[in-house]
Amino acid sequence: MSMIFGVPVAVLSGQLLLGLINGAFYALLSLGLAVIFGLLKIINFSHGAFYMLGALLTVVLFNTLGVNYWMALFLAPLIVGIVGVLVEYFLLRKIANEDHIYSLLLTFGLALVIQGVLTNIYGVSGMRYAIPEVFRGGVNLGFMFLPYYRAWVIVAALVVCFGTWFMIEKTKLGSYLRAGTENSKLMQAFGINVPLLVSLTYGFGVMLAAFAGVLAAPIYSVTPVMGANILIIVFAVVVIGGMGSIIGAIVTGLAMGVIEGLTKVFYPEAASTVIFLVMVLVLLVKPAGLFGKEA
């Protein structure tokens, strides 16, 4: 068998694929953050909590009302999105003109409250959610066993990521959004309801997080603290990609998944650190991030 640095190529290709799948989660989550920061300049520290809410809702809706996976895939993000709109309307709007640090602290506090209350109710051992019937089992690719569900995750994530990028960069609605944040007074003069756009954008951003949460529910243990663990990594991804850059978030998310996956083979102890190492290097060389525009 051919080897690279003492690791068989077959093992390495399996790890690359898995890295890409994990990267799909990072991409989805950092995309939501990037949309919210890029358009609203809000550093959304409750993003992890919304991701967790998406996963938790999937489980709770199934356990109490028997809502199946496909319904949850739409319902959970929708509910979380509405919560997001309410949060924007009642809380974030009040401090919209203050320094970024205020929205950071507010969303961070909110995340702690949501997480704390749910920990009290559900504990942290984690809840199980069965993989949907159609995705049970997997396929042997020769170099690895690929569960069907993981394949679905990467397809679903990439479709949603591309759709979001297309909507913001290529459609009329997207151009309104970008213009509204650039010069909201002028846009309002044109008769466009900018505050509504802002609410909807925040709601959409957290919907992406909840969508990632639903995708995660069958494969990770669903606990109220699952969002806190992933949030910091996702922030690092956004910083590496360039704060607010849509395409940067997607590409960096996938790339960091792969880098992390390879680290797990060559030096597993550093797997949780490697992304931050990359972040430090990128900030030293290109402070605006890989895809960021220099201010």
């Binding site: 504990g123 089992g137 997997g138 993981r150 102890e269």
Partner: protein
């Protein structure tokens, strides 16, 4: 004059007696600090319900000891050695806490007991697993009560090797506990004629284990052992199921599984897994009766850690009652001299290294058909006698043991 002298002497003497009686219980109050992970990965196996178990013990003891009230303080260590150090320091130096109970993550425990030793206060460790706590890190100021990595390795690993699992892949949580468990397991595997093909250490905590499971699959080992705990273990087991690890002929051995973990996994996913435990709620009438009371208060069945916190607190309070003092060394000596016989342990003995030795149990998770209700989870396969389960004193590196 002579009479006056006699009266004075008597007065002074009685004052001295009264004085010592008062000083016997410091601050006229016994203060117990409960330190545990109250909100993170290890919350459910000890956490807030461990505090309930502690309070149950105090209630059952009558709310006071040797005439002095008992006060409980509690804190969340957030699985951080730094937080644990500063909390325990504050407790012993400012709040005059006499005994610290709970303690889960081994790194937290090692930090806490160091400060207890500096201040000559007592620690009763119920949650932690690292056998090093009473081996190279032993001290005259702490007792390790419920279990440790030595019986975990001996119970489970020995059973698996003897069933023919001779080549091992060990996946280890990268901190004190994981390292201790890995070392103990490797020793058992080698002693029983097996070999360890590969050892991989994962960061603590890890949520995605797919990469490690893939490495385990390509290692070709017949046994994949998980030397981790809590959600790390349950995540790894779920992922192993998803990637068809056991279908391809590999055996999965979880070295530390708590009742709450198995409950979270469900019997469907966890059936057939062998594990070593220090206690199980459904062993006899006594354990069931206590567990029913516990469940009334908490809504869940107790883990071995919960039961151990209850038992050790009663044992501690009984020692104060018997000796009439909360002086650390007097109480510890009495605890060591008195065997433990309650719903948690039969003939449990605290050795000079601080290790409480008692029978351990090799259990197997029931199948969905066998399990009568959501907490009906284990079949006890074998009782491992205390002397066989724990590291013999002759192998001890503890400085309190004369070797």
């Amino acid at each position: 004059m002579n009479l006056m002298k006699k009266i004075l002497t008597a007065a002074v003497a009685s004052a001295m007696i009264a004085g010592t009686a008062q000083a016997a219980i410091s601050n006229n109050e016994v203060r117990i600090g409960y330190l545990a992970d109250m909100s993170g990965t290890y919350r459910d196996l000890a956490g807030p319900n461990g505090l309930t178990a502690l309070q149950m013990a105090i209630e059952d003891f009558g709310g006071q000891v040797h005439g002095a009230p008992i006060r409980v303080l509690s804190a969340d260590d957030r699985n951080s050695a730094d937080v644990a150090s500063s909390t325990v320091r504050q407790w012993v130096e400012r709040d005059n806490v006499d005994m610290v109970a709970g303690m889960v993550a081994s790194s937290v425990t090692l930090a806490a007991v160091r400060i207890l030793e500096q201040n000559d206060k007592l620690g009763i460790v119920s949650g932690s697993a690292a056998s090093s706590i009473t081996n190279e890190h032993c001290s005259p100021n702490h007792i390790h009560y419920v279990y440790d990595t030595y019986p975990l390795a001996h119970g489970t690993a020995q059973a698996v090797v003897q069933e023919g699992g001779d080549s091992w892949f060990i996946l280890t949580a990268d901190y004190a506990f994981g390292h201790a468990l890995e070392a103990d397991v490797e020793k058992v595997v080698l002693e029983n004629g097996g070999r360890v093909i590969q050892k991989v250490r994962h960061p603590f905590p890890t949520s995605d284990f797919s990469s490690f499971i893939l490495q385990a699959q390509s290692s070709g080992a017949s046994v994949v052992a998980l030397a981790n705990a809590g959600s790390d273990t349950t995540n790894a087991i779920t992922t192993a199921g998803e990637f068809g690890l056991t279908q391809s002929g590999q055996t999965l051995a979880a070295l530390l599984l708590f009742l709450t973990d198995v409950h979270a996994l469900g019997v469907e996913a966890a059936q057939g897994i062998q594990l070593t435990t220090g206690w199980y709620w459904d062993m006899n009438d006594e354990t069931r009766a206590w567990s029913d009371r516990f469940m009334e208060k908490t809504g869940v069945r107790p883990t071995m850690v919960h039961a151990g916190i209850y038992s050790s607190t009663l044992h501690y309070l009984s020692a104060i009652e018997a000796t009439g003092t909360d002086d650390t060394q007097t109480v510890r000596r009495h605890m060591m001299d008195t065997p433990i016989n309650d719903m948690f342990a039969q003939n449990g003995i605290i050795r000079e290294d601080g290790r409480m030795i008692h029978d351990m149990y090799l259990a197997q998770v029931k199948t969905p058909a066998e399990s009568q209700n959501e907490w009906d989870l284990y079949n006890i396969v074998r009782t491992i006698p205390a002397e066989e389960a724990y590291r013999p004193l002759s192998e001890s590196q503890c400085r309190l043991v004369n070797n």
